[in-house]
């Protein structure tokens, strides 16, 4: 993947929880079926509007809730990066482990309106609002987590390093 991710911004608020991303009734469905229900409770129809390469901007405590694999949903919908005021620990783990670029960035909600174009270097933390011509600096996740994302997630890392073998 390129270092600079450029895409249209979608804005969400604080405490975006796992049950909004994958509703309870969808937990035992296949990944493909689950994609149909992302944010069906709080923002129905969004999953049809979001385009591959778009950027998800969120408030505090992104991804709070259970261990259900919300990262898969955003990857499946083509979201290129999640930039949040702050991540919930489990939420961050969910995203990193499936290879979804994630950047904690205090101030990001104020810096963007929905529809603005963002340019995000999630490894250095540099964020630019292309539409408004403003910039801000996020707090990139440590290198060890970046390596997991770059490799494509936890399983990919383990496979590359010979811990997992194809049977």
């Amino acid at each position: 993947m390129g270092d600079l991710l450029r895409g249209k911004v979608w804005k969400f608020g604080d405490d975006i929880n796992t049950d909004l991303v994958i509703p309870n009734f969808a937990v035992l469905m296949t990944k493909e079926e689950q994609l149909e229900h992302v944010f069906s409770a709080n923002r129905p129809g969004w999953k049809d509007e979001v385009q591959p390469g778009d950027v998800l901007v969120a408030g505090r405590n992104f991804g709070v809730g259970s261990a259900r694999p919300i990262g898969d949903m955003f990857v499946g919908l083509g979201v290129s990066v999640v930039v949040a005021e702050s991540f919930n620990g489990l939420g961050l783990r969910n995203c990193i482990n499936v290879g979804l670029p994630s950047l904690p960035c205090p101030g990001v909600l104020d810096a963007f309106e929905e529809g603005d174009v963002a340019e995000v270097d999630w490894k250095s933390g540099a964020v630019r609002n292309v539409t408004k011509g403003t910039s801000l600096q996020g707090a990139p996740v440590p290198d060890v987590l970046q390596q997991i994302v770059i490799a494509g997630g936890v399983e990919a890392v383990l496979r590359n390093e010979g811990y997992l073998v194809r049977k």
């Binding site: 709070v64 261990a67 783990r93 499936v98 707090a139 440590p142 936890v154 399983e155 010979g162 997992l164």
Partner: protein, 409 residues
């Protein structure tokens, strides 16, 4: 600036001198616990001596799939020479076993896929449920990372009144204060001296329902005594710095508490005194799980039901946290007392707690349980109602067939 106990344990397992809120810390994991199965495509692992493997959610296997998963776990034990392995017959729920066997120790970091892993915080051990994909990484590489959240200090004072238990304390706190998502809990106060290890394990386990990251109890004379002759290795207890920073301090006066029941389908802000729910019908009463399946829970249940009968139309199921606990409960006469009253005592497993086996709920049924969680559909039918109470509340309710304040017994 000083560190809390949680921050200190993280720092000591990382290459950072100090750790503060907001940091992402990479740490070595000391104790790696898993259960029921292991992936057969794992070719190499960090250190088999760090592993603890066992069966708990589905033991003995209730389905062919579970039986085949168990075969994969046995093959893994064999392949990597895992020494800390608890086969069927010596089994128990993971969080019960790691305490019982002196494996979870002060100052250590413990990982397990299961969400109630915070249970081992009762032993001054930093323990967290990590989910299956992160556990795969931990088994293979022996390391993980944590996003450091703020720590809330909970000060316990006073003494529990008659028929009020640690389970009621850990219901009262989220009832009053709500959720603690992204936060660590650190337990303090003179009142802790009156809470035994079984009680602390209950409170640490149910901390998962408060969404806490870690729930850490202190190393004190109670824990010291528990570990004497039991601890399976050396350990270094951890204490917070005097100038550690907490995001808030909550004080709980045990003497003012009464039995607390959690209403369906969540815990935070959803707790009432038992007397306010008295009269709600119960079809099934359950005692068990990593929350309350220990010997003292058997003792309380037996004490409540002795000389009485389970209400007609109500099922009372008791599932021990380990086979060792079951054996001791038999020896002490608790099992006979429970069976004389009409209760079912099963072998050790998570069982009904997560709707696995040994007592699921049917459509429209109501259950009062001392297990871990009451999400909709957790114990079987999504149309069942799950209330949660202490073992005394559960046993009293089993006798009357309705939710009952145990102070009446």
């Amino acid at each position: 600036m000083g560190m809390t106990s949680v921050e200190k344990i993280l720092a000591s397992h990382s290459d950072q001198e100090t750790v503060k809120v907001g940091d992402v810390v990479v740490v070595d994991v000391d104790i790696i616990v898993s259960f029921d199965s292991m992936r057969s495509d794992i070719a190499k692992i960090a250190d088999p001596d760090k592993l603890v493997l066992l069966f708990d959610h589905q033991v003995p296997a209730p389905t062919v799939r579970a039986a085949n998963m168990a075969i994969a776990l046995r093959e893994f034990v064999e392949k990597f020479g895992v020494k800390r392995y608890f086969p069927v017959g010596q089994h128990g729920i993971s969080h019960v076993l790691v305490a019982q066997e002196g494996i979870a120790l002060p100052g250590k970091i413990l990982a397990n896929p299961d969400s109630h892993t915070c249970s081992s915080g009762a032993l001054n051990c930093l323990a967290r449920g990590m989910g299956p994909s992160e556990m795969l990484h931990i088994v293979c590489k022996g390391q993980t990372w944590f996003l450091v959240g703020p720590t809330t200090k909970i000060v316990i004072e006073g003494e529990l009144p008659e028929r009020v238990y640690p389970r009621d304390v850990i219901h009262y706190i989220p009832g009053e204060y709500g959720d603690f998502a992204g936060r660590n809990l650190e337990w303090h106060g003179d009142g802790l001296a009156g809470i035994d290890m079984d009680g602390r394990l209950t409170m640490a386990t149910i901390s998962a329902e408060l969404s806490a990251e870690f729930s850490l109890f202190p190393f004190d004379p109670v824990l010291d005594k528990y570990l004497e002759g039991r601890a399976k290795g050396p350990f270094e207890p951890v204490f917070p710095d005097d100038d550690a920073e907490y995001d808030r301090v909550i004080t709980v006066d045990l003497s003012s508490l009464e039995p607390q029941v959690v209403l369906p389908n969540k815990v935070a802000n959803n707790v009432k005194p038992v007397r306010e729910m008295a009269g709600q019908r119960v079809d099934q009463a359950f005692i068990g799980s990593c929350a309350n399946g220990r010997l003292s829970d058997f003792a309380v249940a037996a004490d409540v039901v002795k000389g009485r009968q389970v209400a007609p139309g109500t099922r009372f199921i008791v599932t021990p946290g380990s086979q060792a606990i079951l054996k001791e409960a038999i020896r002490l006469g608790y099992v006979e007392t429970l069976m004389d009253a009409g209760a079912v005592v099963t072998s050790s497993t998570c069982g009904a707690c997560f709707g696995g086996h040994m007592g699921l709920l049917g459509d429209g049924e109501s259950c009062i349980t001392a297990s871990t969680r009451n999400f909709k559909g957790r114990m079987g039918s999504p149309n069942a109602q799950i209330f949660m109470g202490s073992p005394a509340t559960v046993a009293a309710s089993a006798i009357t067939g309705v939710i009952t304040d145990p102070r009446e017994f």
